[in-house]
Structures are given as C-alpha cells and as structure tokens.
Amino acid sequence: MNLKATIRIVILLSWFPVCSYSQSNSTNHKINIEIPEVALLGLVSDGTTNINLTSTSPLEAGNSINFADTQNSSIWINYSSIIAKTNNRRKVIAMVEGEMPGGIRLMVEASNVLGTGKGKMGESAGLVALSNQPSDIITDIGSCYTGKGINNGRYLTYKLEMDKSTENYALLSQAQTSINVIYTLTDNN
C-alpha cells in the first residue's frame, strides 16, 4: 500500500464517525431535598376548648360528694411529628397551670388513635393525674401525622376524682376554680 492510499483510508475513517451515529452531549444538575424535623401539636373541638367539670352534691346525708358523672371527652389532640433518627422518640406531656382545688384530682386519658393519620403515632399512657409537674400523656411517638380536626388523632377524656384520703377530703370547699392544662410535644429525654 503506497502513501496515497494510506492517506485516503485515514480520510475515509475520520469521516466515518460523522456518518455512523448521532452525537450526544450531557450535563447534570444535583438536586438536594431536605426534609426538616417538625413537632406540631394542637387541640381541637366542635366549639371551644374550654370545658366545665361540675360535681354533684350527695343525695343522702352521710354520703360523699359525687364525681362519677364528671367527665368530658370533647377535646381532640392532633399532632405532626418528624424526627431525624428512626429510633428517636417523642412524647406528649401535660401539666396544670394554676392551683388545683384541694381534695380533688384532675385526671386525663388519651384515647386510642382514630381517623386518617399515618406513621408511628405512639401509645396512650392511660389515665394520668395532672399536676403542676409534667406528666406523660402519649409516649413512643415517631414520625407521623394524626390528621386534622375532630375525629382525627386522639380524644382526651377529663375526669375529676375525689382524693379519698381523710386529710384531703377535709380540704374540699365550695368554689369555682379555673385552670389551664398545657400540652407539649417534646423529645424523649
């Protein structure tokens, strides 16, 4: 093969890529998605979230005051929680702001989960006596949402209980007392 022939072949080969395939060129862009931690809690009801609990007087002499019918289940608790680590947990705590009347205890119980929520919505701590110190109401909450509004999340049942110890019964007096119950969605510590 002489020089001319070699050069012709080189020319032909160098044209070949143009004819044989369509060309492409790529570039890329990185997409970052950041889902943040969230802790949101709300109380809802059909109307107001103020409730009245009133005891009934004994019908016969010698009986104690009656708190049996003193309960309210009109308030629902909704929450949305996002945690960073799957084994971390949150809880809902409650405490009373104001002075509880002597001789009675305010109890609260969160129901089982109802409604449209999803995720790890935790467990009710059962019937809990409220005080000026935080008490666990719902535990073991992970990343979840309960759904919004009444019939979503958990309803809270409030009850008044007489403190049956002799000394505390003596503290009962006729009075109207207003207190606030404060709920907080917090990390397990």
């Binding site: 997409i31 970052n32 949402y145």
Partner: protein, 168 residues
C-alpha cells in the same frame, strides 16, 4: 506534494466536523430546601407536591465554528433522566419547560417544541423536548411529590442529567 498537503488539511477538517458540535449547559440552582416543607396545622401531612424554589436554565450551544456557520438550524432533542445518590422510591420528581428561551445572538422566537407539561423523571432517559439551532436560557421547573411526614427528617440527593442529541 500538493496532494499530500490537501490530504492533511482534509484529515484535520474531518476531525473538526466529526467532533461533538452541540452541547447542553445548565445555569441556576433548583433545590427543595427545608423552607419548602411546611405543615400548615398540627395533624397535617405535607402538601401533596411542591415546586422547586428556583428554575434552572439550560442552553443548547454549538462550539463547532463550521457547523454553526453552515448548519444554523441544527435539529436536536433533549433527553432527561436522573441518577440517584440517596433516594426513596416513593419520591416522584417531575420537570417541565416553562418557556422557550431565546435564540443565541439573534432576535425572534426560538424554535422549540414539547416538554411544556410535567413529565416524571426516571432513571432511564426520556425525550423531554426538541428544537432547532442554538437556544439559550430555556427555563426548567421541577416538581416533587410522594414525600410524607412518615419518612422522617432526611436528605435526599439525585442528579438530573440532560443529554442533547443532534437528531429529531
């Protein structure tokens, strides 16, 4: 000797025209940072979908002088796919062309078609849109869906890949 010189020039010329002519370039930064993930009220999940905070802009440019001069209305199409770094199969990323961009260095409407509705970006390339000639600053909007509070606080990353082919 003349023939040899001609042949050498021809070889160089052939390399010149056989090199990659059309290139796709990106400007801008489309992210889904945590300020977009808002929950309006306690008990709610995230909204069903969110759109990226900013658009990205892609340009189709031709760095081949001869090709640019002789083939001003080069036909091309853009394929789009993603390459996941940290991803969840529930997440759905979509893209759409929000405008037509403009012709490089001249007035008038750019010749561009398709891609004006959101299309799901998968790991396999799909045709996104097509056009003719050099077009700059084509705005691309991204939409994300399929995420939920129940996924937990996490970061995800993927690369969106735009590929230009010189064909229709």
């Amino acid at each position: 000797m003349k023939k040899l010189t001609f042949s050498i020039v021809a070889v160089f010329f052939s390399f010149l025209v056989s090199g990659q002519s059309l290139q796709v370039e990106i400007e801008g930064n489309a992210t889904f940072d945590n300020s977009l993930f808002t929950i309006s009220e306690a008990g709610n999940d995230f909204p069903a979908s969110i759109k990226s905070k900013a658009a990205i802009y892609i340009s189709i440019v031709n760095y081949n002088y001869l090709d640019k001069k002789n083939n001003k209305n080069n036909k091309w199409n853009i394929e789009i796919n993603k390459a996941d770094l940290i991803w969840d199969d529930n997440l759905k990323l979509e893209a759409k062309r929000k405008g037509k961009g403009h012709n490089s260095g001249k007035m008038g409407h750019s010749n561009i078609q398709g891609g004006s509705n959101f299309q799901v970006i998968t790991n396999n390339g799909i045709e996104f849109f097509k056009g003719k000639g050099e077009i700059e600053n084509i705005p691309i909007k991204l939409k994300l869906s399929g995420f939920s509070v129940t996924m937990g606080a996490k970061d995800f990353e993927t690369n969106i890949v735009f590929t230009v082919y010189d064909k229709w």
